[in-house]
């Protein structure tokens, strides 16, 4: 028996107030709804309804690193953050470089039922940057892969990058590049600048990102391919992408919530919670990234949710792992960085966190406007008072959040995936219930 939810008095991204009926597998009605028989009524007065959020950049860690996260726990974190679909990065063990691994991930995601898990395939075998993975086989598999990335590593060989860009045109794929010139970042620990020199930490220069993006947009132009740039972190990268788009090059770009809000001065106390790759940059960079997101130079926000066990962050800086969990905090951080500052409207947020990522990843059934006939993927967000972001807000297996103890605005109140709730009343829904609902919704 599919659930029916009548959401009353929600504020749509456009600012209009409406009731929304989630009627099993579809949004049945939007507007003023007098009554819906058998529906659970959800009072959404004062809440913003967004199309279910889509994350183009998530590390779910399964298979291989289940001590950090699993498909189940990672999608629970997604539900808590208002996400209804996540693109799972390929740096698992074994690496997602064959049809078998990507199909397994997709199957685990469907079974868990908290969000659509869309696997990303590796560009090169084992992420080694030496030979192409079976891109076509992954595209034709039941996982239907369209996004390919060696994220964590840069496809630095220019010839291999050219070939990958060309090859995926056959099935409308896209290469999502982790732009990091490897020789310029050997042993790199933080943004290179005045602070890295003072702290004695090996610098990760902006040019190592910008030079790869410049090369890749030119390659994409030359071979007429589609390029996506992961986690853009510098003002210079923004300029390169702006130039490429003006030239008509088919490039899209993402920024993480943490690069919109946090800056390198947090590294001062060598607290590894703030260690991430690409590193936190200068205030000027965060401002350029915010402006780029507002003017469309950067297309989307993607979390780069990167769970790590506590021991990987309880160490000296050099030995600590790169990465931060980000699914649960993403919407509040975007709220703080670009909505409260007046740069983005909630309609813009729906675009950069749902519609555009679904479009870039060619994911159907997500990122649709909240309208009759659309897929029942929905997030309700309370944009009111700020509160301290604490452990209760985290729902995944790992707690390496840089926001713990920091005051952030708003909170996700409920998430609907496939027409049923995955998160409500501050809690992730019971896994057994969700698994049953998912079978009804997606296998029926």
């Amino acid at each position: 028996m599919r659930e029916r939810h009548l959401i009353t008095g929600a504020t749509l991204p456009t600012g209009e107030r409406a009731d929304i009926l989630l009627d099993g597998g579809v949004i049945g009605e939007v507007g003023s709804i007098a009554d819906a028989a058998g529906a659970t009524v959800f009072d959404a007065d004062g809440l913003i309804a967004l199309p279910g959020l889509v994350d183009l950049h998530t590390h779910l860690r399964e298979p291989g690193y289940e001590q950090s996260e699993t498909v189940l726990t990672g999608t629970q974190a997604a539900a808590a953050g208002g996400f209804t679909a996540v693109f799972a990065m390929a740096n698992t063990f074994p690496v997602a470089d064959t049809a078998g691994v990507v199909e397994q991930e997709a199957t685990l995601g469907r079974a868990a039922g908290y969000a659509t898990v869309q696997p990303i395939g590796a560009v090169t075998v084992g992420l080694k940057g030496a030979e192409l993975a079976e891109l076509g086989a992954m595209a034709r598999s039941r996982a239907n892969v369209r996004v390919f990335s060696d994220d964590g590593f840069c496809v630095s060989d220019p010839l291999l990058m050219r070939r990958a860009l060309e090859y995926v045109k056959a099935f409308d794929g896209v290469i999502a590049q982790h732009a990091q010139e490897p020789r310029l970042t050997e042993g790199a620990q933080m943004n290179e600048g005045a602070l890295s020199g003072e702290l004695g930490l090996t610098g990760w220069p902006a040019v190592a990102e910008e030079s790869i993006i410049a090369r890749d947009v030119l390659l994409a132009e030359h071979v007429g391919s589609r390029l996506h740039v992961c986690h853009v972190s510098t003002a210079g990268s923004v300029e390169v992408i702006r130039w490429a788009k003006a030239r008509g090059i088919d490039v899209t770009a993402e920024v993480t919530p943490h690069h919109l809000l946090l800056t390198e001065d947090l590294v001062k106390d060598y607290d590894p919670r703030f260690k991430v790759n690409p590193p936190l940059r200068r205030t000027e960079d965060t401002l350029a990234l915010r402006a780029a997101l507002a003017d469309g130079t950067i297309d989307i926000v993607a979390t780069d949710h990167a769970p790590h066990p506590v021991e990987a962050k309880q160490s000296e800086w050099d030995a600590a792992a790169n990465g931060m969990v980000g699914l649960e905090s993403a919407l509040s951080v975007v709220h703080a960085a670009v909505v409260e500052t007046g740069l983005l409207s909630w309609a813009d947020v729906a675009r950069v966190m749902s519609q555009a990522p679904a479009r870039i990843g060619r994911l159907r059934g997500h990122g649709e406007a909240i309208a009759v006939g659309a897929a029942p993927e929905l997030t309700l967000y309370d944009p009111s008072a700020a509160s301290v972001f604490d452990l209760d807000r985290l729902a995944g297996r790992s707690v390496n959040s840089p926001y713990l103890g920091r005051s952030l605005p708003g909170r996700v109140v409920a998430t609907f995936h496939g027409g049923y709730t995955t998160f409500a009343d501050g809690a992730v829904r019971d896994a057994g219930e969700v698994a049953v609902l998912a079978r009804e919704a997606f296998d029926g």
Binding site: Q189, E192, G193, A194, S196, G197, E198, L199, G200, L201, T202, G203, P205, D269, Y270, E311, Q314, S315, E316, W317, D318, A319
Partner: protein
Amino acid sequence: MHLLGTRDLARDEAINLLDIAEDMAAVQEREVKKLPTLRGKTVVNLFFEDSTRTRISFEAAAKRLSADVINFSAKGSSVSKGESLKDTAQTLQAMGADGVVIRHHASGAPHTLATSGWIDAGVINAGDGTHEHPTQALLDAFTMRRRLHGGASRGRGLDGARVVIVGDILHSRVARSNVWLLATLGAEVELVAPPTLVPVDTAAWPATIGYDLDAALAGAPDVVMMLRIQAERMHAAFFPNSREYARTWGLDDARFDRLPGTTMVMHPGPMNRGLEISARAADSPRSTVREQVANGVSVRMAALYLLLSSERGEA
């Protein structure tokens, strides 16, 4: 209390430490060099990086204050088998360490140890990565002050002294600690290095940067401090080869001879004779290399005294 770096050391704190080091140095001239000050205290030398010179200097300092000393070398211990800094710290905590002297290859490791809550002991940074080496800078300042002011050193800084530091600034914790401390004490610091071996942005450093050693030496500085150059740097394209380095940035005999007779020649050791410093310069009466070693013990006694006797005060 910890001694993690010189960056945040106030002038009066630094001068107080140097003055206590003078007292300690006076004790070193007695027949019985040992003081009972830290009897019953345990100092752990926690060395994740080999450094016999620094370790024995701290060991001598602690023993002359009657502390019990435990040497914990990461090489060949559980640390080399993957034990974390946290587990090591908790082990030392359980053993009742009062002070930990830490040398670590990672910048910030002493800071992490001191602020993690894993251990209550006071922490002295004995060199971390390419970050800081505060006791080296303090002993350098102590040595300069003694040469400049002799018996009238107490209470004084290094106001107006001109110090040229030459070599691998980028990777040098000695250079960083010296830049902060010498500036705090009123000295004028000039750094001379190949451009590849200077951090990309030193605009906020209280020092001037130059690439021309001859020009810097022509200014007749009070102190020339030569830094050790690591041979492996040339393989990472920081400079073409050791011959070119020595010709351009080495204190060779000709450069040494052009210096005024009053200019001190310093080196934190170990020296590469013939590379960054000629044998004649290293062995001349103007060289302070051996004084630096002796003064190192006095300065480290002062640091341990301040660290561990203040804890006693709190108890």
